[in-house]
Amino acid sequence: MVLKVFRWGPGTRERAQKYWVKARQGMTVLDALVEVQRGSDPTLAFRYACRVGMCGSCGMVINGRERWACRTLLSGLARGVVTVRPLYNFPLIRDLVVDMAPIKSQMLAMKAVFVPGRRATDGGGFAQIGSNTRERRAVDGAVECIGCGMCVSACTMVGHDARFPGPAALNRVFSLQRDSRDGAHAERSVALLSEDVLARCHGQANCTDVCPMEISPTDSILALRRRAVLRLFGIAPR
C-alpha cells in the first residue's frame, strides 16, 4: 500500500511524499503512519492520542474525506494510492498537524459559553435538567461534540468567509440556546442574525456527512434559523 502524505513545515516547501507500507489485516491509517514514523521517517508529524476513536485528535483528510485515522481501515479504502492531508481551514503547524485554536476563537466570537441565568440555580444548587425531559432530548445529539474539527474542515463556507463561525461553534450555540439555565440567549440571538452567521450556511450538510460522532450541525443551524424567524415575528420559541 502506498501512502501519499502531505508534508510542509515552516521554511520548507509544500510537497507530497510517498511511503510504502505493508498492509496487514485490521491495519488503520494511523497504524500505517505510526509505522512510517517509527521506521522510515521519524520526521513525519501527526497528532493522535486515544487511538480508539474517542478523542478526535487524529482527524485528517484521507482520500479527500475528513476521517479519524485511528478508525479508518486501509482495507476499507479504495484500491491504489491513499492520500493523507491535514484538515482544511485550520492553520498548519507541520505536516498533518493543524492548530485547532480557530474552533475556540469561533466559539468565543459567538459567545458559545455557558452564562448562568436566573434559572441556573434551583435553591438546592445548580439546576439539573433530567435526561428524559423534552429540553434535554432536543440537544441529545448536539452535546456529543468532541471538537475534532472535521466539520469545520468539510464546510465550504468556512473556507469562503472567515467571519462565518462554522458548524462546531453554531452547534454549540444551538445547545446553549436550548438550555433554560443559560442567561445569554438574547445576546446570542443578535449575533446570530448578523449577515455572516446563520444566513451564510448553505445547507450542503458536508459537516453532517463527515461528523464521526454522527452529530448533525446542519440540523442545529437550521433549528437556530427557525427560532430566529419566530423571534422576528415576535413568537417566543420553545
Partner: protein, 107 residues
C-alpha cells in the same frame, strides 16, 4: 486564521473535488441551473418556438425548482439525514416530470 498557511479546497484542484458529497452537488446543480436559466430564458424570449430551447427551459426549471423544494423542506425541519434521499427524489422526479410534459405537447 487567514494570515498563516492554511489549506483550502480550491476549485481548480482535483484533490479538493475528490469525495464531493451529495449535498454539495445538490447545491451546486441548483446554482448552475439558475445561471443556465438566465441564458435560456433570454433565448426563449427571442424565439419561443425553438424546441431545443423549450426542452432546456423545461429541464432547468424542473431541476432548479425541485432542488429548491428540497431546500425548503430541509429548512422547515425535515431531518438533514434525509438530504440524500431528497436529492435523489428531486432528480428522479425531474426526469419523470420532463418526460411527462414533453410527451404531452400542449400545442
Amino acid at each position: 486564521m487567514r494570515d498563516r498557511k492554511t489549506l483550502r479546497r480550491r476549485i481548480g484542484s482535483a484533490e479538493a473535488w475528490r469525495d464531493t458529497k451529495a449535498g454539495m452537488w445538490a447545491w451546486l446543480l441548483q446554482r448552475v441551473a439558475a445561471v443556465g436559466l438566465v441564458a435560456v430564458i433570454a433565448l426563449h424570449l427571442k424565439d419561443p418556438f425553438l424546441r431545443t430551447v423549450q426542452a432546456a427551459l423545461l429541464a432547468l426549471v424542473l431541476l432548479h425548482g425541485l432542488l429548491g423544494i428540497r431546500a425548503i423542506l430541509l429548512d422547515f425541519g425535515l431531518p438533514a439525514r434525509w438530504h440524500r434521499l431528497l436529492f435523489l427524489l428531486a432528480l428522479l422526479g425531474g426526469v419523470a416530470a420532463f418526460a411527462f410534459f414533453w410527451r404531452w405537447r400542449w400545442y
